[in-house]
Symmetry: C2
Subunit: 199 residues, 2 copies
């Protein structure tokens, strides 16, 4: 007798499958959705369907697109010869927020991770190599996160790119702007020391 | 140029409207849903639609139900004369988890809250009074949260129930089982003192 009507339980289960959403939060979200006016709830369901049906991965860079080729890959305003390699589509948005990067992207959809059972074949490295192999690429910027898996992935890709005559770079990592040396953790400080430059 | 394809943006917006979900989490959830296999994403959308379409509020107790009258109100195994008044449907689940309560419920759908502009008329107090007025109710247990708004709501309802010959009780509040006197906050300790009993 305990528990909720089945459709409510089902919705809670769906929410609890989302990353970082526990059973209790899922319950709260489900009840919220159920208490929405019908048109608002339908709008939410519709947004899921639309996002799934109307978007796909850009065949060139593997980024999300609602057209054929994504806005970056088809733009004549972007340097098609400079590729910034990121782990996830949301990293594209982060780089774009700088408003400084004028090249294009390559989205790996993950990083090499033994703990999550992700081998190099499970992420879009092959597609990156094919792009570079086609020629006309001057630089590949490896912008994976500065953690073990991100570093491993960057090193792995860098090694594969060695045979090509292309500049391979990695984002600089160090003390964030506005941060304090005093409060920087050791790993960050180590990176900052390693990456020190002449002034 | 920055940003995501519109359907993706729309889904992020929908997620960010959920309570406690910020823009960044909404992004993460939206990308997760988009990267799901199509049938899994559709299942999620379907669960929202079903939960909305197939559930309603029980006309007796205002709890969620996928039938006409809810499982508690229509059950001959429950004491229909004992009503436990809770603020939200999820509180029903919490009480049910004790497996001890044999009465029925009344869901207020909120508490009296000047800060959120909720007056007594905005929650289902009227429906509760109508139930009690019909007769055959022996006890009303007020199980709103032990905070200012929950207490106010309980007191308000208790006063309205005074003209009826019905026992009105409130849940006991005090130190939680497994808790320590040393670590209990003052408000809890005060409640525990006030609610002390002979042993």
């Amino acid at each position: 007798m305990a528990g909720f009507p089945k459709p409510v339980d089902d919705l809670i289960t769906q929410f609890s499958k989302l990353p970082g959403i526990g059973r209790r939060t899922a319950q709260r979200l489900a009840f919220h959705v159920i208490s929405l006016p019908t048109d608002r709830a339908m709008e939410f369901a519709r947004a899921i369907i639309d996002a799934k049906e109307q978007t796909s991965w850009c065949p060139v860079c593997q980024n999300l697109t609602d057209g054929q080729v994504c806005v970056y890959c088809e733009s004549s305003n972007r340097e098609q010869s400079v590729i910034c390699v990121v782990a996830e589509p949301r990293d594209v948005a982060a780089i774009e927020r700088t408003r400084e990067f004028k090249g294009v992207f390559h989205v790996l959809h993950g990083v090499i991770s033994p703990s999550s059972n992700k081998s190099p074949d499970d992420i879009r490295i092959h597609e990156l190599l094919a792009r570079v192999d086609k020629g006309n690429i001057s630089e590949v910027i490896l912008a994976t996160n500065p953690d073990t898996e991100g570093d491993t992935t960057a090193l792995y890709i860098a090694r594969l790119l060695r045979p090509f005559s292309v500049r391979v770079t990695r984002l600089a990592y160090g003390i964030p702007i506005g941060g304090h040396v005093e409060h920087a953790d050791e790993a960050t400080l180590l990176r900052a020391l390693e990456g020190r430059r002449e002034i």
